[in-house]
Symmetry: C2
Subunit: 215 residues, 2 copies
């Protein structure tokens, strides 16, 4: 069972979600296709368990964080750790936090984030919404990451900066009258860093949260 999940995650890491096939997995495990059905009932369950498996590792990372006297600083540190893990595993974007409700490591992670809000002067409803918002920021960025590489970049035929630059160029050729915003930000888009984008989005949410807690 353990090795089924390990190899499933390895396949996902190596070539993304489409690479995780019962046949490919069986071959790696040196067995038949149908054997896997003894461990999981369906591909959905395989994906769920594989995701839960890596969330378990993320959870271990997060529990090692030092912690501070500011719960919002701690939330930021935790969210950044999550983001880092998703950068390393873009396929997670599609499955991360899919089943918070169901038992397992997703729930433990959810709890861990939520515990920081217990240290803030908020109502229970505000806490529930705050954690949803933070998870939402992470998932929103994760989805972005999950579908960014457009095959040419994966092939190494063209690097990310060149790819962004190409898009930026088509933006610069748009009518400035009709696309004033795109023209305003195109230089920022060109060569931008995903982690900066994530940090900013997170910061807006955390600022709003801090204000709410101090009100």
């Amino acid at each position: 069972m353990e090795s089924v999940l390990t190899e499933a995650v390895a396949l996902l890491d190596e070539a993304g979600a489409p690479a995780l096939t019962f046949r490919a997995l069986a071959q790696r495990l040196g067995g038949g296709v149908a054997s896997i059905y003894w461990y999981v009932a369906s591909k959905d369950e395989l994906l769920d368990r594989a995701t839960d498996h890596v969330i378990g590792m993320m959870l271990a990372d997060i529990e090692e964080l030092p912690g501070s006297d500011d719960p919002i600083d701690d939330l930021r540190a935790m969210a950044l750790k999550l983001f880092d893990a998703i950068v390393d595993r873009p396929w997670l974007g599609a499955y991360f936090m899919r089943n918070t409700g169901t038992q397992g490591n997703s729930l433990r992670l959810y709890e861990r984030l939520g515990q920081q809000t217990l240290r803030l002067d908020l109502t229970a409803l505000q806490r529930f919404h705050a954690v949803s918002a933070i998870v939402g920021v992470v998932v929103g960025s994760a989805v972005d990451l999950g579908q960014e590489p457009p095959q040419e970049v994966l092939d190494g035929a063209v690097d990310r900066d060149e790819f962004l630059g190409r898009y930026a160029q088509t933006w610069r050729e748009l009518d400035p009258e009709k696309f004033p915003f795109v023209h305003n930000i195109v230089d920022e888009f060109d060569g931008h860093d995903d982690v900066d984008q994530f940090r900013s989005a997170l910061e807006l949410t955390l600022t709003g949260l801090r204000l709410q807690a101090e009100a």
Copy 2:
């Protein structure tokens, strides 16, 4: 071509992403499977174009909004319209704003959101990040919506409140020592409204943004 997209969207609306099949689509169009390949080069392109098609309708909705003297109020109104549209089409969650960079209605929508930030006292970088953050909140909530209905609810065998209540019950049975946060918010989770959750997440981001613009 137009009818290909219309029927594709109809299939997606009726039974979600798995229902959109070249064979199902061909049958609806009263033709052969291979015919569709004269209009689109692949299923990915079909999905992209179908998504762009509905984003075009969302864009029309958004352009009808009255507009106010407060750009942040306008951003909130636009984001809520987007959320409403995604509630009606949960399958959008997986594809919404997947290709902002590429031409089409996604880019126009992106521009439209961004134009509101031009009315705020921000740097170009802050504007770029602000719009990403808002889109992120929408996408984050959209993904949540896209995977919520767990077949029993779709079948109508059990309604949403009952489904949430069942989860809430398993949460209440967890050890309160290990899951203090979950216990703190379980009553809020039970029977919660998705739109409230979205509004709160959006509000935190918009509050942060307003503060940034006034700094």
